[in-house]
Amino acid sequence: MQALFGQLLLGLINGSFYALLSLGLSIIFGLLNIVNFAHGALYMSGAMVAWLLLQHVGLGYWPALLVAPAIVALVGVVIERTMLRRLYQLDNLYGLLLTFGLTLIIEGIFHEQYGNSGNPYPVPDLLKGGVRLPFMYLPQYRAWVVVVAMIVCFGCWLVIERTKLGSYLRAGTENPKLVQAFGINVPLMFTITYGFGVALAAFAGVMAAPIYQVSPGMGSSLIMVVFAVVVIGGMGSILGSILTGVGLGVIEGLTRYFYAPASSVVIFVIMALVLLVRPAGLFGRQR
């Protein structure tokens, strides 16, 4: 019983990261029409930057939660301004290829500098320890990750669906030229959107640092699962991608409990099944 709930919790945590990352991917894809392959590498950068800040500057978890995403977002802004911007007129396959190249660069540099081994990142003092529930032991940090991820996800959903800023974003997704004609600075909006999506990925990376080992390879296996999540959920709906992410994380956790060897492929198998039954994805529109 202990083990089952343990896996369930781990699944919920993985699912929170899937949700955070697929949310960022969806936002970027919605406006920029670019699938950001580098999302996983930027998530890893968030974790690595937090770890480096701790090692070399002595900056702890709490400030890193803001500083690391800010640094990575800055990199994202530079990427958007200097490279992605040149591809908006082209087939969106080129965006995927460009960000794939960026993934190789980012991962290669970290790999060269810090090797392939995982580095432990300490849990912040405030969240050390855990609560003994009747059916399982709940480490405080893990509960914190799930709660914060949910708050951030629903916060994003609220901002996009219910605020003026979000309405610009949604309008830009539908028709950027018309939005520009109304006097809104669309190129700036593109930059900010990419920066924000990237910051979200890096934020997830910092959150993940105390749970998983911080290593240059942590992003690439994740991004493929997130792609599958996106195929299953469809990128059209924000709430859909959040639900799909968390749900699939839980399913993966359950698989790990019942038949561990299948846990690494279960999400891809579900993707195949969804494609057979509902080719457009669970929440997507066929396009």
Binding site: L97, L98, G101, I106, V231, F268, L276, P279
Partner: protein, 321 residues
């Protein structure tokens, strides 16, 4: 994308001159192993065939597969196992590998063509990842060590392939065969339908072509030829490792095709040569190879989308000779 691809079409040479050029290249290939290290050229030939097969999809059908490593590596593992453990002759091992890749291509392609564009790429990536995990977990693949000590065996049970030159001519024949299949496909009515799908899928559909069927056949053909390349490669190196099924390999074949010129007949082979020469020179630099590959990728996408052959064709059009 279409504009770039169109520029990569033929230079407009008369057929006689095209035949002469191909003939010269084929003769050149016969003498190459006396000047260059044969194993290196064999590797180039395998990867050139792999990239040409991939180009059939990306360049001529407009489908970006990000999972072609599954076909390369899958066929390599099966061929290696068949020759080493089951004691089959090399040509039967290769045949088995090709059949496996075609089957995998049928499954992966059949699922992926249900979505288009960017989703197609993500689906192929995910399903190829399943093949990768299978390769990691199955006992016979040897996990991280890979499948080692594969004998090259005797062709048809008669001709031993252990010698460097016999093996080279065997690989060269396979490359020419595969390349010829790609060439014939591109220039057949079937290939023209593929191109029409690339240019305008709804219109091809409205003209009465069963677009999904054409896409699937193209995918299976591309997968089978990638398998041919992978199985041959396993015999060349006498081993098969996880590198060949890893998603980096799927990206590498995209890079080769992009760099050489997608939608051109010779482009992928030129791209394979460039990438392998580059990797050969950089092999002492560890992870910097990955970084430099990434930089080449980025520069290629930003400023060099026609690739070497595409640019050469554009030049030849400007200054006809």
């Amino acid at each position: 994308m279409n504009e770039v691809l169109r520029a990569g079409a033929s230079v407009g040479w008369p057929p006689g001159r095209v035949r002469l050029a191909f003939g010269l290249m084929i003769v050149l290939g016969l003498f190459l192993p006396f000047f260059v290290y044969p194993v290196f050229i064999m590797n180039v030939l395998c990867m050139a065939l792999f990239a040409s097969a991939f180009n059939l999809l990306l360049g001529y059908t407009g489908l970006l597969s990000f999972g072609h490593a599954a076909f390369l590596g899958g066929a390599g593992y099966l061929c290696g196992q068949a020759v080493k453990v089951w004691g089959l002759t090399p040509e039967l091992g290769i045949l088995l590998g090709v059949l496996l890749s075609a089957g995998l291509g049928w499954i992966i392609g059949g699922l992926a063509i249900r979505r288009s564009g960017i989703y197609f790429a993500m689906i192929t990536l995910g399903l190829a990842q399943v093949v990768y995990f299978l390769a990691v977990q199955m006992p016979f693949t040897g996990g991280d060590d890979g499948l080692q000590g594969v004998p090259r065996g005797k062709l048809l049970g008669l001709v031993p392939l252990e010698g460097r030159y016999t093996m080279y001519y065997f690989v060269y024949a396979i490359f020419l065969l595969g390349f010829f299949v790609v060439y014939r496909t591109i220039h057949s009515p079937f290939g023209h339908v593929l191109r029409s799908i690339r240019e305008n899928e709804p219109r091809a559909l409205s003209l009465g072509y069963d677009v999904d069927r054409y896409k699937l056949v193209a995918f299976v053909l591309s997968a089978a030829l990638s398998g041919l390349a992978g199985a041959t490669k396993a015999l060349v190196f006498q081993s098969e490792t996880l590198t060949d099924v890893h998603w980096h390999m799927s990206g590498e074949v995209v890079l080769m095709t992009l760099l050489g010129g997608m939608g051109t007949v010779m482009g992928p082979s030129v791209g394979a040569l460039i990438v392998l020469v580059l990797q050969n020179y950089l092999s002492g630099f560890g992870s910097w190879v990955t970084v430099i590959t990434g930089v080449v990728f980025v520069v290629g996408v930003l400023a060099f989308r026609r690739g070497f052959v595409g640019e050469a064709v554009a030049l030849a059009k400007k200054f006809p000779f």
